[in-house]
Symmetry: C2
Amino acid sequence: MDFSSKLLENAVNEVSRLPGIGKRTALRLVLHLLKQPIENTNYLTEALQLLRANVKTCEKCHNISDTPICDICSNSKRNPSIVCVVEDIRDVMAIESTAQYRGLYHVLGGKISPIEGIGPQNLEIESLVNKVKIGEIKELIFALSSTMEGDTTNFYIYKQIEEFGIDISTISRGISVGDELEYADEVTLGRSIVNRIPFEQSLRN
Amino acid sequence: MDFSSKLLENAVNEVSRLPGIGKRTALRLVLHLLKQPIENTNYLTEALQLLRANVKTCEKCHNISDTPICDICSNSKRNPSIVCVVEDIRDVMAIESTAQYRGLYHVLGGKISPIEGIGPQNLEIESLVNKVKIGEIKELIFALSSTMEGDTTNFYIYKQIEEFGIDISTISRGISVGDELEYADEVTLGRSIVNRIPFEQSLRN
């Protein structure tokens, strides 16, 4: 791309560093900002800078939070002995939106991924193992995505906490509610047969 | 979406104001910035603010430029009597990348669109008509997109300059080079037949 303005080129280059944003999209976004009042650009850049400079993570669950202890961890109505292990804040938001879970979370901050250079020491695994060690947790629910990295991370954590004898479960995998069997992939369908549940239990859901 | 952090929510809201960026994408982009060093966020916000605060448009063609007269308008090797009318800088970049055009440009800054509240007074039409009036332009080439808005804008400008008797043309529409006829849409194929060119002329392309 041959830009007529160095300022424009710099802005497009910076925007296109964001994941999934190519040069053309970046140009479109930047030109949009140029057509809007200057305040809109200021609001955007200020919001990003304020967030980046002041972002905190909850001391207990490591979720993004404006306070030292997040709203979920400080909610006395929630059960602190059940902890759901997730990758990041998006998973917390997804599970919260189901309104089906009343325990706490533990946000790892990623999954073990040798390809991306993410090892156990880059994640909040030690703090999780400590929580189990001091007897704070009675049940741990793994809710990482079911990829190679997710399974590896689950197993790594499992090996470090199995000796403490707490309940360890993982969210169930199966056919989505409302999905047709014929369109389901074989792995998911296979798992849903192997991990079938008593019919009477399904009635209670 | 239920955010655990007001700072995060603000940043996501501002990013999702950009065209084509929904809340989920905005959250993904913002979380990406949080995982990167703080400098990356600073580079991004600085580039946007510098651009927005200092952006200039060329006094002659109204294209985005860091100098009062842009590189194209100040290039003495280009023919100033041929002017190509385009919507914005992206069209200039697209035509420049063909290396087939040695005239100048006139950037309107948009198209007439009553639905979006864009009238002729919001575009650089008066300055274009003035250029024609003072005899600066011998040939005008319309290169707006062939939509209702583009055609309206072309016609509006045409009615104001037809009395001056300069050459007025529009870029040709037709089947893309390398495209199969059977997959072309009827309107384009129809136009390409109506606007057929002498075979000998096509040999010279």
